[in-house]
C-alpha cells in the first residue's frame, strides 16, 4: 500500500489533474511529438530557446496521471535552464526513475517521481516527456516513441 502512496503522491495527483505550462509556445524554435504506443499516451512539446537558454516550454497531451505529471514537472524545471545542462538532467531523472539515484533531493521537486521506480511497467509513462524533449533538442523529424 505504501508503495502506491509513494507513487501517487499529492504533488503528482495535483500536476496530473492541473498540469502546468499546458499549451503551445507560439514562437517555438524546437518542437516534437512523443507517443507511447503501449498506453496511447501522446505529448506535443514546444520550446523556445534563445542564446542556449530555454526561455519557454509547454506541452499538450493526453495520458495517465504519471505521464502528465512528469511532463508538467519537467516544463517547470526546464525554464531558464541552459541546454548544456539538459543532458545531465535527463541522466539524473533516468536514474531516479529506475531506482539508481544516490540522492534524489538534488533533483528538487522532481524527486516526487522516485516512487515510479517501484513500478517497472510505469517507467515509460514518466520518461515519455523526457524522451520527447531529447528528440526536440536533437530536432529529429520522426515522432519519438518509448518502444
Amino acid at each position: 500500500m505504501s508503495a502506491l502512496r509513494e507513487l501517487y503522491q499529492q504533488v503528482i495527483i495535483d500536476h496530473g489533474r492541473h498540469p502546468r505550462n499546458h499549451g503551445i509556445v507560439e514562437n517555438a524554435t524546437h518542437s516534437h511529438h512523443g507517443y507511447n504506443p503501449l498506453c496511447g499516451d501522446k505529448l506535443n512539446l514546444t520550446i523556445n530557446i534563445q542564446d542556449e537558454i530555454i526561455q519557454d516550454v509547454k506541452f499538450i497531451g493526453s495520458g495517465c496521471a504519471i505521464s502528465i505529471a512528469s511532463a508538467s514537472l519537467m516544463t517547470e524545471i526546464l525554464r531558464g535552464k541552459k541546454i548544456d545542462h539538459v543532458h545531465e538532467l535527463f541522466q539524473q531523472v533516468h536514474q531516479l526513475l529506475t531506482g539508481h539515484c544516490e540522492n534524489p533531493e538534488q533533483l528538487g521537486k522532481l524527486s516526487v517521481l522516485s516512487g515510479v521506480a517501484e513500478f517497472p511497467a510505469r517507467v515509460k509513462c514518466a520518461t515519455l516527456s523526457w524522451h520527447t524533449l531529447n528528440a526536440a533538442l536533437a530536432q529529429s523529424d520522426s515522432p519519438v516513441s518509448t518502444e
Partner: protein, 419 residues
C-alpha cells in the same frame, strides 16, 4: 485432480462447483502484493488446469518424438497423441472431417494463412473484403497487407453506440466485388457477441464466403461449425485453457483442397523433385515443418477438461457473473461501461471518471487484481468511442462473485486516491 462432474441430462444440471474447479488451477493460489490473486484478464489468456500442465510434462517425459516420420515406436506414440488431439478438436467444434482441422500457432497465424492462401486463390485487384469495427488487430492487419499488395479494398461494418454492429449497413456493403467477410464472433474489447449465424446467411445469399474469428467465443459457448456453415473458423488454444503456441484453423475441405500451400517445408509434401513437387493430403498440406506436438496434446487435454464440465454449466455460470459484475460496476459512481450489447460474452470494458485506465490498472494490481488497461489491440474501435484506452475485466468459470466484490472495493479505493 480434475473436476469431473458428468454433464448429464438437462433435468439434472448441477451447479458449477467453483471451489473444486479452482483447485485444478495451481496458478490461482498465490498472493500478489500481499493479496490473494484475482485473475480478471482471461480474454488475454486463460490459466491452465493441472491436467494440461501434466500432459505436456508426460509427453516430454514419455513419448516425445517427431510425428509422421519415424518407424520407431515413440514416433508412433507421438503421432497418435497428436492425431488424437486433432480428433478432440474436430469433435469439439463438430467439424465434418479431420481433414478440416489445421494445427497452427494461433488465431493470428490462421488468419494470415487464409489471407495469404485464399487471397491468392480468390482475391484480386479492385475486389473487396469486409471486416467490422469490432475486430482485433489480428483480423485487420492481414487484410490490410493483402489489400496493399494486390490493390483490393477493405470495407468496415460500422458499430452502434451500444456496441452492436449495424446489420443494415452490413447488407449494403455486400456487392459483386465482395470476395470475403472476416468477422469476429465476440469482441475482445467490449464483449459484443455478433449474430454470426444470421450474418453468415446474409453473406451466403450473395455467395460470399465467411471467416469467423472465434478467439473470444470458443471459451464461452458451444461452437458447431457445421451449423454455422462458415467457410473458416479460427481460434487460439491459450484462450481456451490450453498452452500457448497452438491454435486452429477450421476450413471447409473443398476450399482447403483448392487453396495453395501457405508455407513450404517438410510434412506438407508428398514427392519433391527440383522440377516440381506434389503436396500432401489435407490437413498436412498446411502444416509445414515440425508442429507444436506437445501444444496440440495440451490443447486436447484442455478440451477434455472443458467438455467434462460442460458448456451448459459454463455458459450459465459465466453469464451470471457477467450480470452480477455489470450491476455492481454500474453502482460505482462515475463509472461508464463501454459496450452494452444485448448479447455479451463475460467481458466488460469501462472508464471511471477521467481517471486514466493505466492508473486504475496499477492500483488494482496492488490489490492483487489483474485487469487489462489499454486499447486491447482494437485501436479503431477505441477511436470510434473517442477513447484511447479502457479498463477491461474478463471472466472465466474459475472466477467468483466475491472476487467481483473485491474489484468494486478496489475501484472505490481508486476513487479515493485519484477521483
Amino acid at each position: 485432480m480434475n473436476t469431473i462432474v458428468a454433464d448429464t441430462s438437462e433435468s439434472n444440471q448441477t451447479q458449477l462447483d467453483v471451489e473444486s474447479i479452482r483447485a485444478d488451477f495451481p496458478l490461482l493460489d498465490q498472493k500478489i502484493h500481499g493479496h490473494s490473486l484475482i485473475y480478471f484478464d482471461n480474454a488475454a489468456t486463460t490459466q491452465k488446469p493441472n491436467s494440461v500442465i501434466q500432459i505436456e510434462k508426460d509427453f516430454y517425459e514419455k513419448i516425445n518424438a517427431n510425428v509422421h516420420r519415424g518407424v520407431h515406436t515413440l514416433s508412433d506414440y507421438a503421432t497418435n497423441a497428436y492425431e488424437n488431439a486433432r480428433e478432440k478438436v474436430r469433435d469439439f467444434i463438430n467439424a465434418n472431417s479431420l481433414r478440416e482441422i489445421v494445427f497452427l500457432k494461433g488465431s493470428t497465424e490462421a488468419i494470415n494463412l487464409v489471407a495469404s492462401s485464399f487471397g491468392q486463390l480468390r482475391i484480386s485487384k479492385d475486389d473487396e473484403i469486409i471486416i467490422s469495427y469490432l475486430e482485433h488487430h489480428a483480423n485487420i492487419i492481414p487484410w490490410q497487407l493483402l489489400c496493399d499488395r494486390i490493390g483490393a479494398r477493405l470495407k468496415v461494418i460500422p458499430v452502434f453506440d451500444n456496441g452492436e454492429l449495424d446489420l443494415q449497413a452490413y447488407e449494403s456493403l455486400i456487392n459483386n466485388r465482395t470476395k470475403l467477410i472476416a468477422l469476429t464472433h465476440v469482441s475482445n474489447a467490449i464483449g459484443t457477441v455478433n449474430p454470426v449465424k444470421e450474418m453468415i446467411n446474409t453473406a451466403h445469399c450473395s455467395g460470399v464466403p465467411v471467416l469467423i474469428d472465434g478467439s473470444q467465443a470458443v471459451p464461452h459457448e458451444k461452437i458447431d461449425v457445421q451449423e454455422l456453415d462458415c467457410e473458416f473458423y479460427v481460434f487460439s488454444g491459450h484462450k481456451l485453457y490450453g498452452p500457448t503456441g497452438i491454435g486452429i484453423l477450421y476450413a471447409k475441405e473443398s476450399l482447403l483442397n483448392e487453396m495453395p500451400p501457405y508455407q513450404g517445408g517438410g510434412e506438407m509434401i508428398r514427392v519433391v523433385t527440383f522440377a516440381q513437387s506434389t503436396y500432401n493430403d489435407l490437413p498436412y498440406k498446411f502444416e509445414a515443418g515440425t508442429p507444436n506436438i506437445a501444444g496440440a496434446v495440451g490443447l486436447g487435454a484442455a478440451i477434455d477438461y472443458i467438455t467434462a464440465i460442460g458448456f451448459s454449466r459454463i455458459t450459465r455460470y459465466e453469464q451470471q457473473l457477467l450480470d452480477y459484475a455489470t450491476k455492481k460496476l454500474l453502482s460505482v459512481e462515475g463509472l461508464k461501461i463501454i459496450g452494452q450489447a444485448k448479447n455479451k460474452a463475460p467481458v466488460i470494458s469501462f472508464v471511471l471518471e477521467d481517471i486514466h485506465p493505466h492508473d486504475i490498472g496499477t492500483i488494482l494490481d496492488h490489490h492483487g487484481i489483474a485487469v487489462r488497461a489499454g486499447h486491447h489491440c482494437a485501436m479503431p474501435l477505441m477511436e470510434r468511442f473517442g477513447l484511447s484506452a479502457t479498463v477491461r475485466v474478463s471472466f472465466a468459470f474459475y472466477n467468483t462473485f466475491s472476487e467481483v466484490d473485491r474489484l468494486i472495493e478496489g475501484l472505490n479505493e481508486v476513487r479515493r486516491m485519484l477521483g
